[in-house]
Subunit: 192 residues, 2 copies
DNA sequence: TAGTAATTTCAGTAATTACTGAAATGTAAA
DNA sequence: TTTACATTTCAGTAATTACTGAAATTACTA
């Protein structure tokens, strides 16, 4: 398989971007290729399309699998393994966030918690302690927020995102007004 | 300056994490050290505390400066440059997001826009085109959301984050009820 | 303006990470 | 089982990135 210039551009870009993250060029390109590919690809096809060795592709796919970003399947009368990315792009986003959280945030939070248990011995440690506490609380707030919205179904989440800060206007009314419902419920202060 | 075990742990952790991002170990450690440090540090002190060469520290500080994550100042009767991180952790977070956006998101969006201008020539390109459009729209939605909430002052943003998905309950009422204000305003359908 | 201290640059080297090809292992049909 | 692929592993090598020390530049002081 030879890549058309259109796909070429896309795939190469993700190669570059990959190396800007921790992920390497190969892995970025493989993922991009699978993402835009019409049909599932086997390792041989990927290697040929990207000009990597077969073994390199094998390692790249293993890496992607550890990120839970690929799906593997078999085709009738073909022993080779075929790979795709999830159809739903929101599944991809959610997986990415979860994995990065697991690999980057969780260990950091745990290091901070452990460190914060120690009693500061001097003013230097006192100051460091306070700064770490601040960082800990901020990360915790952000991850709690994500844990919460991540539970929403996609359609609702999209609505919330599209609303952005505008929803805050509504929130402000909570304290200014008593909101009288037209149905069974009645929203009063403290409901939220 | 010798680092106490407490600081050591913190600084080393950010070294490791740094290399998990595109940022290298040195840069991660320098930043962590400045973050927890009680007072501004000069390059010499940083080099000594972390065991790096003076020139390496110089390059690291330059890198951090390009991320706008450090502040430089002078002390009375001292020609050396002293470095700190911003006091307000929210400034740090906002800067980080902005810079990552500039370096990673914006180029990607621009590549996608350029590519999407091309007319797909076959079914393969057709499919790729559709997938790229999907990615483009999603990234745009997320960045628009960020652009929007990023304008809020920190206190409000924190409120919004703490509310999480709960605010959505309020949003739902919008369609079910007519909300009657106690002041001048009245919220009706279409206000948001 | 010369002299000195501080910082940056950069060429060379060290360390790390990426990649390959060959061998080993796994897997399914005959 | 045996055979014929398919996939993974891994040691060796290539490529990249990180780091240092010396030299050059910049900035301040006297």
């Amino acid at each position: 398989m030879k890549l058309s210039p259109l796909l070429q551009t896309f795939v190469m870009h993700f190669g570059e971007m990959g190396s800007r993250w921790g992920i390497n060029r190969t892995v970025g390109q493989i993922y991009a290729l699978l993402y835009v590919s019409e049909k599932p690809l086997n390792a041989e096809e990927i290697a040929e399309a990207l000009g990597f060795s077969r073994s390199n592709v094998s390692m790249g796919l293993k890496e992607l699998d550890s990120w839970r970003l690929t799906r593997m399947q078999h085709l009738p009368n073909d022993r080779r393994e075929y790979f795709t990315t999830p159809d739903d792009i929101w599944v991809i986003v959610r997986t990415l966030v979860e994995e990065r959280r697991k690999r980057e945030i969780d260990p950091t939070l745990s290091m901070l918690r452990d460190t914060l248990l120690q009693i500061p011995q001097n003013s230097q440690e006192e100051h460091a302690h306070a700064k770490m506490q601040e960082m800990h609380d901020l990360i915790e707030m952000l991850t709690n927020w994500y844990t919460d919205v991540q539970k929403m179904e996609t359609e609702r989440l999209v609505n919330l995102l599209k609303l952005g800060s505008k929803i805050y206007k509504l929130y402000e009314f909570k304290d200014k007004f008593t909101l009288v419902g037209g149905g069974k419920s009645k929203i009063t202060k403290g409901t939220l």
